[in-house]
Structures are given as C-alpha cells and as structure tokens.
C-alpha cells in the first residue's frame, strides 16, 4: 500500500512537470489557430452554375490562361519551360490539369477575378503603386463576368482527375511544388531530379534549378524552405492551418494562401508524411508488437518476484 502511495506521488510530480514543460510551455510560446475547414469564409461564393464547354473556350481563349499555364490533359503544353517562365514571372505558373480538384471552387473563382486578393498577397502587390501580380486579373470576356468565371471553374473541374486518382504526390507538386523543394524525394522546383549517367547532364540540371531558385528568391524575397522534414519540425496541425492562412502565423509573409480544398490539404499532409515520416506505419505496427512482448515480459517478471519473495515474507 505504501509503495502504491509512493508511486502515486512520483507519478503526480512527473505529470505536473510534463504538463508544465510541454503542453503549457508550448501554449505560451506559439500562437494556436484552429482550422476553419478550408471554407475561405472571407471570399464571396460563386453565384452562377458553370458550364464546362463554354468554360473551355474561355480558358483557351479570352481568359488567356493558356498563355501562361500548360494544361497537359487538354493537349496544351506549357508555353515556356520552368526556368524561362520563372525569369519572366518570378515563378513557374503551374499546369492546370488538376487545378479543378486541388483548389477550392470558390477560391478558384476569386483567384481568376483578383489573384492578389485571393492569394492574400495584396501587401506585396498594390496596383496603385504599380506592383502588378504576375497573374493578371480577369476583367470579363464581354458577357456576365460571374457566369464566365463559373464556366471556367466548371471546365477546370471537369478535366481534373478525382478521388483516389489524384495522388498525394500530384497534389503536393501542383499546390506547393513550384516554390518548395523536397530533396528527400529528389523534388526540385522544376520537377523531379532524374538519375543522370553523365556528370555534365547532372550539372546542367543543377544549374537550371539554381537559376530557377534565383528568380524565385527575388520574387518571394526569400527562398521558400525545403519541406522534407517539415512534418516533424512543424507537425500536421501547424502546416494545415498555415496553408489555410499563412498570414495568421507570419504576418506579411510572401507565401500565398494557396487555396486548396480540405481533401487536397489532407493529401498534401499525407505526402509530407510519406517523405518526412515514411516509417510511421511500420512504427505503429512494430510498436504494437513490442508492447505485447513487454507486457508479457513484465508479467513473467512479476511472477518470478512473487515466487522468490514468498520465502522472504
């Protein structure tokens, strides 16, 4: 009984200390935000029901999207290679094949109307000061602008792969990959680094990456960090809520609000886990077995003690 009491005292002091240095201290050190479910409540909703066929004409025509973006599924390659595009725009405009399933529909509509506003980078791009966002606003193709925007969104949604077919890796590459490298899976901002046979080819590739990064760093004011280990350094909750609204945590940051929908955000997190915490399933599996083994060990140890001590009391 006395031992039990001592155990309780030791446990209570241990837990109090743990509480103070972990949950409590962290609550004092970091701002905490809850996810708003990727609802983007500050943006007005799409009011019109879009039509994909009309949308296609707009995207390829009056909307001028393909002047900057490739749409591979529709047979439209990117007008420029990544390095040249970054030299012009600061960053390579992403291929829009799967934009319809990665980005939130309402966000897409607002992005087309006013990129700097939707992306929450108006502090960097103020047209009054002549700072234009590299992606121009869409001022309408002559008809009802809300309808046109809804049509384009509908088109992008109609061509995008959905559900399982949209893999975590594809999601990451579209939503984050033009800015963030991830060298634990050989991802660079201009694509995956292939295995080269000749050193010259490898150096040529590396040079392209460096050129791209130079343009990107100039555009962003800083080179976006390599995200290989961010799942461990920041954790899923932080990344998710940061992506939802980067300005919350880093006021004035150049990282845009990317506008992914909740499902895509989960996929991005899953991909970051696949890269930075790839052994998590094994860890859980092995963990369960080790726990069972240790509990059996403890039971035998207990029985041994009982056996030995029955002569001692």
């Amino acid at each position: 009984m006395k031992e039990l009491f001592i155990l309780v005292v030791v446990t209570v002091f241990t837990l109090v200390t743990y509480y103070l240095v972990e949950p409590f201290a962290h609550s004092q050190m970091h701002k905490h935000y809850e996810s708003e479910g990727f609802a983007y409540a500050d943006l007005p909703a799409l009011t019109k029901k879009g039509d994909a066929t009309r949308g296609k004409d707009l995207v390829m025509g009056a909307g001028a999207c393909t002047g900057c973006h490739g749409i591979k599924v529709a047979g439209m390659p990117a007008p420029m290679d990544a390095v040249t595009a970054a030299a012009s725009y600061g960053v390579n405009p992403p291929d829009l094949s799967n934009a319809g399933s990665v980005y939130d529909a309402k966000f897409l509509g607002n992005l087309i109307k006013n990129p700097a506003h939707a992306l929450m980078v108006e502090h960097k791009f103020d047209p009054a000061k002549g700072q234009m966002h590299p992606m121009p606003q869409f001022y309408g193709a002559g008809g009802d602008m809300d309808q046109e925007v809804a049509d384009m969104v509908a088109y992008l949604q109609s061509i995008a792969v959905k559900g399982e077919e949209l893999t975590p890796k594809m999601t990451f590459e579209l939503a984050c990959g033009r800015c963030h490298a991830m060298h634990y899976e050989k991802w660079t901002q201009i694509g995956e680094k292939p295995a080269f046979k000749k050193k010259q080819d490898e150096l040529a590739f590396d040079t392209q990456v460096l050129d791209y990064q130079d343009s990107l760093a100039k555009y962003m004011g800083t080179l976006p960090p390599d995200l290989s280990m961010y799942i461990r350094s920041r954790g899923a909750h932080y990344i998710e809520t940061f992506v939802e609204n980067p300005q919350n945590y880093l006021k004035g940051t150049a990282m845009p609000r990317v506008g992914v929908n909740a499902e895509a955000a989960e996929k991005v997190i899953e991909h970051l886990e696949d890269v930075g915490d790839s052994k998590r399933h094994e860890r859980e599996e092995v963990g369960k077995n080790v726990m069972i083994y240790i509990i059996i060990f403890a039971i035998f140890a207990l029985l041994w003690k009982k056996e030995v001590w029955k002569d001692l009391h």
Partner: protein, 404 residues
C-alpha cells in the same frame, strides 16, 4: 605460481583461473541488501538498464551517422530515419532514453535526499552519483549537437558562450572550446568524439566507482534503520530468511528489480513508439542555420532548472548563480549537519526543506522553458532566489535538528 589441477568441467576450469564462484558469492548471492526497501531502490537498476539501451542503440546509430556539418542532418533524418532498416527505431530508443534517463536520475537523487542516503559512510556514493550526473549532462549535451539541427546549433552557441564568463570576456576560451569562432566543423567533430568515446568511457568508469562505493556501507533502507549485516546474513544463511532483515542481491533483490524494470519498460516503449515528441524537439528537425536565430531557444527539459537560475539575473550574477547551482548538490552530505539518516518525514524542518526544494525545482524547470515575459520572469526570479536561499538555510536548519 598457483597450483592448477586438471579441470573436471568447464566451470572448474574457469573457477581455477577466475575464481568465478567467489566472485558470484561476493557480488551476487552474498551481497546483502536490506529487506525493508521499496521500488525506489530499483531506480539504480532502471538506470543501468536505460544506460544499456543508450549504449546499444548508440552503437547502431554510429554505423550510419556522419559527423560532418553538410551531411550530419541528412544522415540522421534521412539515412537513419528512413533508409536503414529499423534505423528509426534505434533513433527513437536513443532519443527517448536520453530524456527518460534524466527523469529516473532525478527520482533516484530525490530518493537519496529523502531517505538521507548520502551520509554516515555513504558520502562517496553520493559524490560518485553526482559525478555521474555531470557526466550524463555532458553526454546529453554533446549528443544533442550531433543531428546538427537548429537547436543543436543554437544551444551549442548559447552554452559555449557561457564560458566567456560574462564581464571576464574570456572569448579565447570560448574559441578554444569551439575550435572556431562559431560552432562549425571542428566543433561538431570534437563533440562527436566526446559523445561516442570519452564521456561514455568516463560514465562506465563512474558506474564502477558508484557500485564500488555501495559495497561497504550497503544501501540504506526505508526507515533508516542501522542493520547488523553480519548477524542478519548469518540468520539468512542458516535458512531463517523470513525473520532476517537482509536479502541476497541475487535472486531476491534482482527479482524485485526486474519486476520494476518490466513495468518501467512498458512505460518506456510506450513513449518510444507513441509519444516521443517531448524527447525529440521539433525545432531540431530544421537544419542548422547560423543566419536564422530560432524564436525560442531553450535547453532540453532536464537542464531547464539550472538554465532558469542563470536567466533572471544580470549576466555576471546569473553566471555566479549558475555555477553555484552546478556544484551545490555535490556538497549536500556536508551541508546537512544532522547525523540523522532517516526519512525526511521524521526530520523536523528538513521535511519542509525537501518538499520546498522539489517544488522549487519544478517551478524553475517550467519557467526555464516559457518565454521570459511577465509574470513568468518574476516567478522565475523568486524561484531562483528561493533555490539559493534554501541551500544557505540547509546547514542551519539541520544543525538544530533533534535526534530522530
């Protein structure tokens, strides 16, 4: 030369050469431990097991770790954590054990303080224990440098800066320790050497000393009772185990130790697999960057109390207070002027001293981590003063203690 006969068995062969029977008797079957002890006396064995876990997991990590500022971070976080089979397991075992070992050390120390197990012939146990504490601290700190993350780098920077001695401006000393103006390759290399060779050697030697120091005074017991070990051992050997006040180290004490170790390992492996973040600071998963100071720099939890004794004061005063905190525990056997080696609950004012010290150190620990804003700054300041005050008061309150 001794006389050797033809061996009748392998055991006999060894016995003639190594006296294994005698060793077994002296170290195990006739090494007497008081019966009246609780599970807190198993903490020494728990520490030994945890040290073994650290050693074994460390050896595995060493096979892939690269002590190079450009490669260290990836060799740990990519090669070991993701490529090498079960590398992640060894790293988590090593990281969690490094943190938990301090929890157990603190429990072990406060057990010693509570039961007065540092006096009446047990001074060397205490002093060798404190040397182990210092060696473990150095081991933990040097190990923390190795992944070369942000916290490695900046904690390395801040702690080595302390050696400048405030207004003494001993910058030469700091550079000598670092091997460079800032933590860089030379710094990483020498801390690697310390972590994998010199300090572990010292620890193994000190564990030997600690165990040796236990042999003559024997361990204390729950009631601080003075036991006539010879008489009680004779009783035990005569078969009267029940009324003897002592038990044999093997199997009697060992079986209880193993029971505690079993329960401890359940807790330990739960942490390793399901709750490891407390031991592996997230900030250290960002690679070292000398140009980007992290928003919050704090040491691992087990150094927080002494860090907080440094922090609330001006640089020079802080350093003196810090130095005081580092050595004062060594002096405990001499600052405690009472001859009573009994539980604190029977020791008058010392009882309050014990709990005040424990709670004060927990407060210091908590305040050492949170940002130094109000009211934490003030709380930390008074907790640090209380710490120093308690130590100054100790000789006086124990001097007038009545015989228990």
């Amino acid at each position: 030369m001794a006389h050797f006969t033809k061996a009748t068995s392998l055991h006999d062969w060894l016995n003639q050469r190594l006296a294994v029977d005698t060793l077994r008797r002296v170290l195990a079957t006739e090494y007497w431990i008081p019966k009246n002890i609780n599970f807190l006396w198993a903490m020494g064995m728990v520490l030994a097991i945890t040290f073994a876990l650290l050693l074994v997991s460390g050896i595995f990590l060493l096979m892939y770790y690269q002590p190079n500022v450009d490669l260290a971070f990836d060799s740990v976080n990519y090669t070991i954590m993701q490529e090498v089979g079960y590398g992640w397991l060894w790293r988590h075992v090593h990281g969690v054990a490094a943190s938990v070992v301090f929890l157990i050390i603190y429990i072990h120390m406060f057990t010693g303080i509570y039961y007065g197990s540092y006096k009446k012939g047990r001074e060397m146990i205490w002093i060798s224990g404190m040397l182990l504490f210092v060696a473990f601290s150095a081991e933990a700190f040097s190990g923390y440098m190795l992944p070369w993350g942000q916290m490695s780098y900046w904690a390395g920077m801040v702690i080595t800066n302390l050696f400048a001695g405030g207004s003494l401006h001993a910058d030469g000393l700091v550079e000598w320790i670092r091997g460079d103006y800032v933590p860089a390759q030379a710094f990483l290399n020498r801390f690697f050497m310390l972590h994998v060779l010199l300090i572990p050697l010292a620890i193994i030697g000190l564990i030997g000393l600690h165990f040796g120091a236990l042999r003559i005074p024997h361990v204390n017991n729950q009631d601080g009772e003075e036991i006539d070990f010879e008489a009680e051992a004779a009783k035990y050997k005569a078969g009267d185990k029940r009324s003897s006040k002592v038990i044999a180290f093997v199997n009697d004490f060992m079986s209880k130790d193993m029971m505690v170790v079993g329960i401890y390992l359940i807790f330990f492996f739960y942490l390793v697999f399901f709750h490891y973040d407390f031991a592996m600071d997230p900030v250290n998963f960002d690679p070292a960057n000398g140009l980007k100071t992290p928003t919050h720099i704090y040491p691992e939890w087990y150094f927080l109390w002494s860090y907080e004794i440094l922090r609330p004061f001006s640089t020079n005063v802080g350093l003196i207070a810090f130095a005081f905190a580092q050595v004062i525990f060594f002096l405990l056997p001499f600052l405690d002027r009472s001859p009573n080696a009994v539980p604190a609950s029977r020791r008058g004012l010392f009882k309050y001293w014990f709990w005040a010290m424990l709670i004060d150190m927990i407060i210091l620990t908590a305040m050492g981590k949170v940002p130094p804003v109000e009211p934490f700054g003030t709380i930390g300041f008074y907790a640090a003063l209380t710490f120093i005050g308690l130590w100054i008061a100790l000789p006086f309150i124990t001097m007038f203690e009545k015989k228990a």
